[in-house]
């Protein structure tokens, strides 16, 4: 999708995605594979319910004590030799990182995968400041070459087939075409190795921070996280303020479910724990380390009905099981976090105003709630977001009026019967052989892809009463 402008509305983007056959092929392949791997990994874990409960407790306790934990985290990081920066907004975070780069005379930056940096559009800000940035996660690297954005939390290019990736690398790197993932990874590896060695600054996110020790935990499968945190002379961590747990034991609880839910691995190939810059006598490591803690709407979200969503550990499992995501992919959601979790997080962080279509894009089937390793009740939060949309954003007249009329009549059975009979009569006029092919008004959307059964002439209750009364009369 490089260079192609995305439609502005959710519905426009969804429609475009629905007609993209390559997208479906790619999504079907990847999500099916992840779903089956995940169920082998998490469901076969002994006491998996208990393990999930413990992970949930670790996250929920952290959210309840977030203020205190953040202060503790800051103290520990400072003791460990890190500089801590607080960023209220995305722009603040970007400005802070540009300033750190300027002060350290940085010219080249290597990044490992970070969704928060996508949220702040960090790369664009760094490039505007004249800095050269390269993504070192393979998927993110491809995304960068395509001038695109990730469409999945853990699989940035899940929307691309390997043939598409092959053509892109051929175009951008001048290498011979291949659709063999091994060969393609080899191309990227050769390029990226040089970038690691040249970079003055490494930027990472944080999968989890541990307040008690001031530890940053990164999980990767490519080892790039390790190189980004050790080779460049400056290391910057950009993380959301919610990504904390209290203790190393809590970290263990979260790690037990994270990789299993995300990729179906027991543990990712690399689990990197970083506590500070290089100390005297250390063989490697950065000269200085900075941790930028980003709010960007999280405090507000924490105070609202959907605070629980901040417990998300970004495993992406809910995307893989979501029938809506499976059909429209990640880009249709229009922002950093796609899928069920994104449909709560995006309006939560950015305000419901421009994002009311996201919580609507769910049949509330509950597959996300079932799969979530920390048991987030996403359907309930989607309803809470819809409630916020109803109170704060304009609704179509038919819906607002219709709901008011529905509530008024449904609490008054005789009125309800009159309206139902009238409505039924109107619809029956359109019916042929008991079925309606094109319904009027908002119901017209129903008949775009299915026939509508014509309402019954006599309601169940009316028939029931006359039958039972007839029986009584006989008796």
């Amino acid at each position: 999708m490089s260079g192609v402008a995305m439609p502005l509305t959710f519905h426009g983007r969804a429609r475009a995605a629905l007609s993209d056959r390559t997208l479906h092929e790619a999504l079907d392949r990847a999500t099916a594979q992840l779903r089956s791997r995940r169920s082998t990994a998490l469901d076969s874990l002994e006491h998996s319910d208990y393990v999930r409960d413990v992970a949930r407790r670790a996250r929920m306790t952290a959210l309840r004590n977030l203020g205190a934990l953040l202060r503790e985290f800051e103290s520990r990081l400072t003791e460990n030799g890190c500089r801590v920066h607080w960023a209220d907004t995305a722009d603040d975070a970007n400005r802070i990182i540009v300033r750190i780069a300027a002060e350290a005379r940085v010219r080249r930056i290597a990044k490992s995968k970070s969704m928060v940096s996508e949220e702040t559009h960090l790369n664009a800000a760094l490039e505007r400041a004249g800095l050269a940035v390269v993504e070192t996660d393979l998927g993110e690297y491809v995304t960068q070459l395509a001038a695109s954005r990730p469409s999945h939390i853990i699989l940035p290019i899940v929307h691309m087939t390997r043939e598409q990736v092959g053509r892109l690398l051929q175009e951008q790197l001048g290498v011979p075409y291949s659709d063999d993932p091994q060969v393609l990874a080899g191309y990227a590896r050769a390029k990226l190795r040089a970038e690691f060695l040249r970079a003055d600054m490494g930027i990472t996110g944080a999968n989890i921070g541990v307040a008690a020790t001031g530890t940053i935990c990164l999980v990767t499968n490519e080892g790039n996280g390790r190189m980004v945190t050790t080779l460049p002379r400056v290391h910057v961590v950009l993380m959301g303020i919610e990504k904390l747990v209290a203790t190393m034991a809590d970290l263990d609880a979260v790690l037990k479910v994270l990789a299993r839910s995300a990729t179906g691995q027991q543990l990712t190939a690399y689990t990197t724990l970083v506590r500070g810059p290089r100390r005297a006598g250390d063989a490697c490591g950065p000269e200085s380390m900075h941790v930028v803690l980003l709010d960007n709407g999280r405090t507000r979200l924490l105070a609202g009905e959907s605070a629980e969503i901040l417990g998300c550990i970004r495993c992406g499992a809910c995307l893989n099981v979501c029938p809506v995501y499976r059909n429209i992919g990640g880009h249709a959601y229009g922002d950093t976090y796609p899928g069920p979790v994104g449909a709560v997080v995006t309006p939560g962080l950015r305000g419901i105003g421009n994002w009311a279509a996201l919580p609507d894009a769910s049949s509330l089937c509950g597959a996300c709630r079932d799969i979530c390793p920390v048991r987030l009740d996403i359907p309930r939060m989607l309803i809470a977001m819809r409630q916020e949309a109803v109170s704060c954003t304009p609704q179509p007249a038919w819906l607002r009026f219709g709901m008011r009329a529905f509530a008024w009549t449904a609490a008054r059975p005789p009125m309800y019967r009159i309206v139902a009979r009238l409505g039924g009569a109107v619809l029956r006029q359109r019916a042929r052989n008991g079925w309606i092919h094109r319904a009027p008004g908002p119901l017209g959307a129903w008949t775009t892809c299915r026939d509508l059964r014509a309402p019954a002439r006599r309601s169940f209750e009316r028939q029931w009463r006359s039958r039972t009364e007839a029986r009584h009369d006989r008796a």
């Binding site: 629905l18 819809r386 775009t448 059964r453 029931w464």
Partner: protein, 245 residues
């Protein structure tokens, strides 16, 4: 008639006005099992359309009415719809969180409320009646029944019918795309989910598709008609009623 065998049958708004036969079939199956079926007077709708759309005040207004009607009855409340049963069991207590009186009443009503297949499965083996019907049947679990109420063994009601073979569906537990207002507001996505489900049904070789939620049934049935598929879509109650003859 001992009071213990009275059951309240809730004709959901869809059954009441779109497919009364589901109500009668449910009543007949329950009667066959020895229950005395009553239909509470003055029911309209559980309020789910408003609740799922985020119209909390409207949902509460309807729920207050339905709650008052149901609280006034005795015996198990049997609902031939997974999503309406889930509305009463899980959503009412949430809607009335800030209203202790009603919340308690909602909890008491929730305790008595069961979905139709769930109720049949709860009966002692002696009471359950197995019919006979020669058919290859696919089962579509409505999401609120499966994941909301956690009822997973409904297909056993089909497989215990003599002559009936239950055939598996690809992505068996995936949503059919109905989702109430979702099917109108996001008709294109809903339609694509419907396509997938119906393709799976067609590939399974099933002659019938049975489900426990009239919303899903209407969506799947209307979709099958539009696509000229020969599969017969039925509510579970209608299937069992037919099997019992």
């Amino acid at each position: 008639m001992p009071t213990s065998s009275i059951v309240q049958l809730v004709p959901t708004c869809l059954v009441n006005d779109l497919d009364p036969e589901v109500g009668f079939a449910s009543a007949r199956v329950l009667a066959r099992m020895g229950f005395h079926v009553e239909v509470p007077r003055g029911l309209t709708c559980c309020g789910q359309p408003a609740h799922n759309a985020g119209f909390a005040d409207e949902a509460r207004a309807v729920a207050r009415h339905t709650l008052a009607v149901l609280a006034d009855t005795t015996g198990p409340i049997v609902v031939p719809s997974g999503s309406c049963a889930d509305m009463i069991v899980h959503q009412y207590p949430w809607l009335f969180e800030g209203d202790p009186d009603r919340r308690d009443r909602a909890r008491a009503v929730a305790e008595r409320t069961v979905e139709f297949s769930q109720f049949l499965l709860q009966q002692p083996p002696g009471r359950a009646t197995c019919g006979a019907l020669d058919a290859r049947v696919a089962y579509h679990s409505s999401c609120h029944l499966l994941r909301g109420l956690g009822v997973t063994n409904t297909p056993s009601l089909l497989s215990s019918t003599r002559g009936t073979t239950v055939v598996p569906l690809e992505d068996q537990e995936e949503c059919c795309g109905f989702g109430g207002l979702f099917s109108i507001k996001n008709a294109e996505i809903s339609g694509r989910m419907l396509d997938r489900k119906l393709s799976a049904v067609a590939a399974s070789g099933a002659e019938r598709l049975v489900s426990c939620d009239l919303g899903c049934v209407l969506h799947l049935e209307g979709g099958a008609r539009r696509r000229a598929l020969s599969v017969r879509v039925q509510h579970l109650a209608c299937f069992l009623d037919e099997a019992l003859g």
